[in-house]
Amino acid sequence: MLSHGGGGKETSELIGSIIFNGLYRQNGGSGDKYGPGCRNRHKGSCRTANISWQKIKLLEDAAVLKSPQSIAFTTDCFTVKPIFFKGGDIGKLSVAGTVNDLSVMGARPLFLSLGFIIEEGFALADLKKIIKGISEESAKTGVMVVTGDTKVVPAGKADGIFISTSGIGEILYGGLSVYNIATGDIIIVSGNVGDHGAAIMSRREGIEMDVEIESDCASLWDMIDCVLKSGIRVSAIRDATRGGLAAVLNEWATAAVADICIEEDKIPVNDAVKGFCELLGFEPYQLACEGRAVFAVKPEFAGKALSVLKSHPLGKNAGIIGTVGGGNSLVTETPQATRQAGHEGGGITSGYTGKVILKGIYGISRLLDYPSGELLPRIC
């Protein structure tokens, strides 16, 4: 109902009984002092924050937090359609997305804000399911929802539900940056690419596959923490969301002013996603992931990084896929594969540094560009 967003009694009921109870009671039980995540292994995060769920319940205009020395702050909006998909829902995604943005900066996620824009007539049962997704996903990382807002708009003015989350994290491992990436760095991806994009598109377009593709939607802090605390020298980490692996690598190549060379047959891809891509003319590395991280690590640490990743449940399919600045060695390996020199006049000048070069299964190398011109609306 519109009145649920009016700021009056109904708003109070919605926030109190559905959202607040969903977030803080169903997981934590009524007597838990520290809110959802704190029953999990990361109790410390909430104690550092020195905030209890009873205090949040007072519904002050702002959450008062005790901040660590150096923080990371990020925000994201979620409009995914369908709202529920195999492997997750918009609620789980809204937590994992923001948690991952903090995690890849070496920041342990502490606090989230949670904003809803809900279309009038949206089913309460669906809202409860979404809140449950948020609650469960927050608990996995030990991140705490400390502030939020809900607006209800007239039917037809939004598509079901939109969520916005912002996150604050405590920097535990400083210095991760795309600008640290240097020639010789090894590129590692933490698992199969393209699952989320393929799961969403196949559901939305009603494309039935023999095996339904499951989104990889997951919070990556624990896995990233494992890598970073083991002393591996990591230049940068990114979660490969919109634009997929292709977009991350292109941004890195541009920032590093170095070519990045990737071997196509080393990129881990689930069979169902391969089939889906064949059917529709996509490439798995252009599809979004929501639970995969790409690492650039110093070459001497590549083996260790891979084994740490593989020993984590979210990284079991991790693989080394390429090198920064490895272009020349790859091309000379297969001289017949070098592209024809020059064009028949016109065309694109590609003699710049900062390209991503994909070596295909037949040893032929080509440019891997940012995805473009695809119709990929609202995957996150």
């Binding site: 594969a337 006049g345 011109g373």
Partner: protein
């Protein structure tokens, strides 16, 4: 058996490529007619693998690419008519017309729906909110997709739906091939003929290629192994000077095709006197229209006044013209390649396509852009 991996095996591909390279006596010019082949050749770099031996020329077999600007303008005019829902394949949405495209028209508020299968039109028609709407299906495609439009019409008639109309733009593979060969100024030694089209039509439709024009013709599938084994058969035909139609895709194509699908098409469609193709102009007997007994479903008849007005304008050269610098027309005839176009990658790219060949993923320009040199 994994279709997407078994016909891609690295060892098979290397072996086939070296056999072809060894057997080619002098460099061979092969036109692959179908956009699906162009896509695979570029995606797997088969043109590079066989560099200096095989020169792949890209033909008029991408259904989106061959639609002239005029037909896009007409679809836009239909979509702009009161009470119309236009249903179109996603690929058609961004093809530029004279002043607009379907995607821009949708942004303006016209009801244009993207569909994946013609039968999705039934769902739109059965929605109770659309009872008073005219639902027009922008039907495009070669012999492969025409049976699906015919199946839609069959379903519409069976369900007594009276507000679905077909804007028929179905075209045939052989006429533009013959037009290229009739023009004389080509270097083509042989044709890789489309696999999916041939599943429906069988192999007879390519009879003229070897028998009238004395060129090689091999029907091939779309995986790298299929394309290379087709190429090998073609090289042997050329070396031995015995042009014929051969099938390198026997797991899918029978000589007489799919009779049931052919009958379905013949029940609803008949050949037009002529149809305009991008880059070619009018080609006689190259397109299909609904048979007279089904004219009550024909959007060209329902909107004849509106289309007549447009056709007068395009006849006078006011609309329907392609960008003078765009080489789509030349590319579709195998006379130019995408990177020979002055607009390619500069003004024309997938986000901002100037010509249709940059829109569909089967378009030669889109394939060159996506899998381009570094």
């Amino acid at each position: 058996m994994q279709l997407y991996s078994d016909f891609k095996m690295k060892d098979d591909i290397s072996r086939l490529a070296s056999i072809i390279s060894a057997e080619v006596e002098k460099p061979v010019n092969i036109m692959e007619i179908c956009g699906g082949h162009t896509y695979s050749i570029m995606k797997y770099g088969l043109n590079i693998l066989l560099k200096d031996k095989i020169n792949f020329l890209h033909g008029p077999g991408c259904p989106v690419c061959v639609m002239p600007v005029k037909r896009i303008d007409e679809a836009i005019a239909i979509a702009d008519s009161p009470g119309v829902i236009l249903a179109a394949y996603g690929d058609m949405m961004r093809v530029p017309g004279t002043d607009s495209s379907l995607i821009k028209e949708r942004a303006k508020g016209n009801d244009i729906r993207m569909i994946y299968s013609p039968l999705d039109v039934i769902k739109i028609a059965e929605d109770k909110n659309n009872k008073d709407k005219k639902i027009v299906f922008f039907a495009i495609g070669f012999e492969t997709t025409t049976p699906m439009t015919a199946a839609l019409l069959e379903e519409v008639i069976a369900k007594r739906i009276n507000n679905v109309f077909i804007y028929a733009n179905h075209v045939l593979v052989p006429p533009p091939v013959n037009a290229i060969l009739d023009s004389g100024d080509n270097l083509i030694d042989g044709f890789i003929c489309p696999g999916h089209v041939s599943v429906i039509t069988g192999s007879d439709i390519y009879f003229d290629i070897p028998h009238k024009y004395h060129k090689a013709a091999v029907i091939a599938g779309f995986e790298p192994y299929d394309i290379l084994s087709g190429t090998l058969l073609m090289v042997r035909q050329i070396n031995e000077g015995r042009p014929a139609v051969e099938i390198a895709y026997k797991r899918a194509v029978k000589e007489d095709g799919n009779k049931k699908a052919q009958d379905l098409v013949n029940k609803y469609f008949t050949v037009r006197d002529e149809f305009e193709w991008r880059g070619f102009g009018n080609i006689p007997k190259s397109g299909l229209r609904l048979r007279d007994e089904f004219k009550s479903f024909d959007a060209e008849i329902l909107f004849k006044d509106k289309l007549k007005e447009l056709r007068l304008k395009s006849g006078a050269g006011q609309t329907g013209k392609e960008n003078a610098l765009c080489k789509c027309g030349e590319i579709l005839k195998g006379k130019s390649k995408p990177d020979g176009c002055p607009l390619f990658g500069k003004v024309c790219n997938p986000e901002n396509p100037v010509g249709a060949c940059m829109v569909s993923f089967e378009g030669a320009c889109a394939a060159y852009y996506k899998y381009r040199d570094f």
